[in-house]
Symmetry: C2
Subunit: 133 residues, 2 copies
């Protein structure tokens, strides 16, 4: 037994995503999956971001949504720069594991443009359909 | 003027996605972008699918949602096999053009498993967060 070695023993296992959840994920070629963010009370869809396993681990365990930024190639905890944090209220993976739905309480504007959501004012013209009577 | 040639002249331009909309799209390496589908009245998030330009054109102009199936590599008009059609009520592109939000009237179950949505009963354990008072 060597005291000089004991400091190399971590107090706990390195934090990692629950392997049972990781096994359900279907990631793209870059190791990412889509995360839909929805306001928990109004049910408004706020934005779509991207996560990897570590971003999901942080989102599920810290109470704040963390994405992986494809353009900056780094983790991005929503609100750290803007103040527009997303507090996690719930999360669900879809049936084939390639999409996450995160229900949050959004502080301020969800969109970096200052709009309430990333879809606000960006409607496309559509021909609407009608279910048969 | 030749009558034998007139049948080769199309009655209209080939159908294609509005170039102004196409110019706003940010597609992945496979030419696809994410489409979030939301029930227009309850605001429930039903599923996430994938579209290319042609799937979006069909979705915007026919009143029915069409996806591009990554696994089958073909167009897939939701409901043609299952009867669980999605009638389009509105659509919006997000601020950076890599996600579409489609508001629909869903007939029957949105999920191929028969569940109301692809996220139904698939909640993950979360540590919730709380906005500061």
């Amino acid at each position: 037994m060597s005291t000089s070695n004991s400091s190399a023993v971590p107090d706990s296992e390195p934090a990692q995503l629950d392997p049972e959840i990781a096994a359900r994920l279907k990631r793209d070629a870059n190791g990412l999956f889509a995360a839909i963010v929805q306001q928990f009370d109004t049910l408004e869809v706020l934005m779509l971001g991207w996560m990897d396993d570590e971003a999901l681990r942080r989102t599920l365990t810290t109470g704040r949504v963390t994405f992986y930024s494809r353009s900056r190639q780094e983790y991005w905890r929503k609100g750290d720069t803007s103040g527009h944090a997303q507090y996690v209220k719930g999360a669900a993976l879809d049936c084939d594991g390639d999409a996450l739905l995160v229900r949050v309480d959004q502080v301020g504007a969800a969109c970096h443009t200052g709009a309430p959501t990333c879809f606000t004012g960006r409607d496309l013209p559509v021909v609407t359909g009608q279910r048969p009577d």
